[in-house]
């Protein structure tokens, strides 16, 4: 396929951006190393743990296995993009209120996964929250706090 433009254009947290990186590089690297964003963390590189989750056109994807080329013309939202005018979103505030983390390494990926759930199902049951987060691993054992935070956010509290 002939490409006249070597740049990948996409929307990142609402802003139009370009990347001249090798299109096969994982989105995770681009976001972390080129755009210096922190919402996605490397955990496994195999889409098994969810700590690198970002939203691509609203879908929660594992940025460690998404090549840069796959987001061409799409909208990417990271944890940083959830905040409104620099203030944490309701979901983020709920995580703070519930102190829903220990080390916090998996947390941002989980928040993105939970955001995708709430976008589709604004009032999930507890078991729906657990199912939605089953692909996100937490080793510290903060699971119940995290579930409470998502439920709290869904209630707008």
């Amino acid at each position: 396929i002939f490409r006249s433009d070597p740049l990948i254009n996409f929307k990142l947290n609402g802003v139009d951006v370009k990347s001249s990186a090798d299109q096969t590089e994982p989105l995770l690297h681009i976001l972390s190393n080129d755009f210096k964003l922190n919402g996605q963390k490397f955990g496994c590189g195999k889409a098994q743990c969810g700590s690198c989750t970002v939203l691509v056109n609203g879908d929660p994807l594992r940025s460690c296995v998404v090549p840069l080329s796959a987001v061409s013309g799409r909208s990417v939202v990271t944890l940083e993009g959830l905040s409104v005018k620099g203030k944490p979103s309701k979901l983020q505030q709920a995580f703070v209120q519930e102190q829903a983390a220990q080390c916090g390494y998996c947390t941002s990926g989980i928040i993105m996964q939970a955001q995708a759930l709430l976008d589709r199902n604004p009032t999930p049951t507890e078991s729906e929250v657990r199912s939605a987060l089953d692909g996100n691993l937490c080793r510290c054992g903060a699971h119940n706090r995290i579930v409470r935070a998502v439920i709290r956010a869904s209630k707008g509290a």
């Binding site: 690297h29 210096k36 963390k41 983020q92 916090g104 080793r139």
Partner: protein
């Protein structure tokens, strides 16, 4: 920094400190004088870091207080708890306190952040130091205001004298007045005056993490940073035969290929380039690969046959009471190798500066001792190496944090002036981290005709639980593969009162005859080191399973049976409160459902925790579902109730994960657990709701909460599965296959 290895009296002192190095903030002359008998014994880590100025600075520029600690944040919330303690005793707002932790150039050396010591040793030191600094500041205010200290009050650093005159901490001419040793004379505040201790203050670091502000080591981007990867051999004992590095050096973005003996690494401009180069190198390298592993199924047998380095008489208590043994019961338990299984792989950033100083950012638990190990590995003077702690993914013990620091350093010295970031692949972390040791535990009890325990014997077999850097290069993974390799130092088993393989091997129950024997095996076909709780998890599972078996054999309620042999009132309280909250007496048996309880006082000297839980076992597929769990915790005086709850519940969940799912898989050559599919851990749907009973003991010592609940939760689970099925499972983990097999045999 000075290394001390001279006189025996100094050695004795340093042994007590658990460290061979002392922070520069304690001048050597002070170290010498610390052995003088007139020095008072100070609380916690103040004993070994006595200068108040090493801990606290009053900073007038921004009206803040700087608190410097050697303990580090691992996700357990320790810095927040210490900040609370400091705010309380200094009478300043929590938010005025800035913290520096784990920078070898700036903080007191508090050794390793491990073993649930950070509250008893670290927070206690902060409490005392803060109280003494407050008293000094009041003294200065008295001079400046011409008012007596009696009748002075402090609110957020504003001192008000009896006559109403005010002055702030930051207006005082503090000068050199904190440049003195603590004396232990000032008493911390009376408990009745506490405003911050005992409150669940939200952790400041969680605000940053939830907002995505750069707080993790993995989020740092120093200017000009390069990316590094290492290549591991296909097996522990493999050695490099041949590799043509020329094609690798020509790959896009490659800055440097590093090769020394069997150690291989690469530095490149972009992360993906470094990864690609390392993969190409891995594919091209030829190794000899001996078969040296016991296989997953063979681990138990290997442990029983391996040469024993030491037979340790952990406890010898011959029975003095009368009574006739009517029945002898025996059992054998096995725990496999466990991973720390951090969600984020270990990482490090290292820079060799133009001043010849190597600065390493690391999420190590032991910055001072790892610094020394790295200096030895690189043959650099200690003062030319500085480690700075930054947060990483939770580690749960000695994972690969120190190895990553060392590997970043090995690559950084090959590209002077350039920061090198290194983070392991998932396969590297899974296959090469030092696992929690597998153990075999055999128990034997002599019972009288009424089912009372007269004699209790526990015998265990274990490989080491501690191969932390400890200042020795050979404990750093890559150092073993260098052209001039460092030998693996022979590990020792930590003795009383904390113990290691035999941690919690002495049951807290009062038995008349009570013997514990430890077979300490130093052969390590599989790399092992400290994993949350060391031997405590397996020993508690064995003890608490066995006492459950004895209770059942005697037809006695397991809670009642435990209390029959438990004298420690705090232990009794913990057991009773968990059982009550669970609704033990009201619980009714239904087919397929079971309840279980487990208890331990961690290390027999720290936190008390009992766990009661309910399971449902599906007889068709062997699946265990934990329906709910209750934990009681007495960890002494509680600084942050929410912090304690988080630790106890987290430990409980991790304990369930170990017990239900976890076992490192290997064939005779390689570790086969290479990712989350081949080493699964508990998921959200599998985590039960947990209720907490916190037992606060105001005024009692801080005991720590990080390692109290894993053993009790594992034991409660095993006991509940027995209650549900009538089958006793003594080999962990309780996977559906194993449960199904057991049910078929029954």
């Amino acid at each position: 920094m000075t290394t001390l290895n001279a006189s025996t009296s100094r050695r004795r002192f340093l042994k007590g400190a658990g460290a061979l190095t002392l922070s520069f903030s304690v001048p050597l002359v002070d170290v010498y004088s610390q052995t003088a008998p007139e020095k008072p014994r100070l609380v916690g880590d103040l004993q070994t870091n006595r200068m108040l100025s090493a801990w606290i600075r009053i900073q007038s520029a921004d009206k803040s207080v700087l608190l410097m600690v050697g303990k580090v944040e691992l996700g357990q919330g320790i810095l927040s708890a210490m900040q609370q303690v400091c705010a309380e005793e200094l009478d300043v707002d929590f938010s005025r306190i800035r913290m520096i932790s784990g920078d070898t150039a700036l903080v007191p050396n508090e050794g390793t952040t491990a073993g649930s010591f950070s509250m008893p040793n670290g927070a206690s030191a902060v409490q005392q130091a803060s109280a003494e600094v407050r008293a000094i500041l009041l003294g200065l205010a008295a001079t400046q205001l011409g008012q007596p200290t009696a009748g002075m009050s402090v609110n957020d650093g504003v001192i008000t004298a009896a006559n109403g005159a005010k002055i702030t901490y930051w207006d005082l001419l503090v000068g050199q007045s904190l440049q003195r040793e603590a004396d232990g004379k000032t008493k911390p505040k009376p408990i009745g005056e506490h405003r911050v201790i005992g409150r669940s203050v939200p952790r400041p670091d969680l605000d940053d993490k939830i907002a995505g502000r750069p707080i993790f080591l993995q989020e740092q981007h120093p200017a000009g940073m390069l990316y590094g990867y290492v290549v591991r051999p296909p097996a522990y004992t493999a050695r490099l035969i041949s590799l043509d590095t020329a094609p690798i050096e020509r790959m896009p973005g490659v800055v440097k290929v590093v090769r020394s003996g069997s150690f291989l690494g690469v530095v490149a401009t972009r992360e993906a380039q470094a990864l690609a180069a390392s993969q190409a190198m891995s594919a091209a390298a030829k190794w000899n690969v001996p078969k040296a592993l016991p296989t997953t199924a063979g681990v138990e047998n290997w442990l029983m046959k391996a040469p024993v380095d030491k037979v340790i008489e952990t406890k010898r208590q011959p029975r003095l009471s009368p009574g006739t043994v009517a029945k002898v019961v025996e059992a054998s338990y096995f725990r496999p190798y466990h991973m720390h299984a951090s969600i984020g792989t270990s990482a490090g950033i290292a820079t060799l500066g133009s001043d010849g100083v190597l600065v390493v950012q690391t999420h190590s638990q032991s910055v001072f001792e790892t610094r020394m190990a790295i200096a030895k590995m690189l043959d650099m003077p200690l003062e030319k190496v500085r480690l700075q702690h930054m947060q990483g993914s939770g580690c749960y013990g000695h994972n690969m944090a120190d190895d990553a620091a060392a590997d970043a350093a090995l690559l950084a010295v090959a590209v002077p002036g350039k920061p090198v970031f290194l983070q392991y692949t998932r396969e590297q972390e899974h296959q090469w981290e030092p696992y929690g040791s597998a153990m075999v535990i055999k128990t034997k009890a002599g019972l009288d005709a009424q089912g009372n325990i007269l004699d209790w014997d526990l015998t265990l077999w274990s490989t080491p639980h501690g191969t932390r850097p400890g200042g020795q290069a050979g404990n750093l993974l890559s150092a073993r593969y260098l052209e001039k390799p460092f030998a693996i130092p022979k590990p020792v088993n930590g003795g009383a009162p904390n113990f290691a393989a035999d941690r919690n091997a002495i049951a807290l129950y009062d038995f008349s005859g009570h013997n514990v024997t430890t077979h300490f095996i130093t052969d390590m076909p599989v790399r092992v080191s400290s994993t949350r709780g060391l031997g405590a998890y397996a020993n508690v599972v064995a003890i608490e399973s066995f006492i459950d078996e004895l209770a059942f054999a005697g037809g006695v309620d397991p809670v009642e049976y435990r209390l029959r042999f438990m004298k420690d009132p705090r232990a009794r309280d913990s057991i009773v409160k968990a059982a009550e909250k669970f609704g033990w007496s009201q619980w009714r048996k239904r087919p397929g459902f079971g309840r279980g309880i487990g208890f331990a006082k961690y290390k027999n000297i720290a936190g008390y925790c009992a766990v009661a839980l309910e399971v449902q076992v599906n007889p068709d597929n062997g699946r265990i579902r934990v329906l709910r769990a209750v934990a009681s915790a007495d960890v002494g005086h509680i600084v942050s109730p929410d912090g304690v709850s988080n630790q106890i519940e987290g430990g409980l969940v991790q304990g369930l994960s170990w017990t239900l799912k976890e076992e490192v898989q290997m064939d005779d050559t390689q570790i086969l657990s290479q990712d989350w599919n081949s080493y699964p851990i508990l998921t959200f749907s599998e985590v039960p709701p947990v209720e907490m009973v916190l037992i606060d003991r105001p005024g009692m010592p801080f005991l720590g909460a990080g390692e109290a609940s894993q053993g009790p939760s594992g034991a409660a689970l095993a006991n509940a599965v027995f209650d549900a099925t009538g089958v006793r499972f003594r080999r962990l983990p309780l996977t559906p296959d194993r449960v199904l097999q057991g049910l078929k045999k029954a």
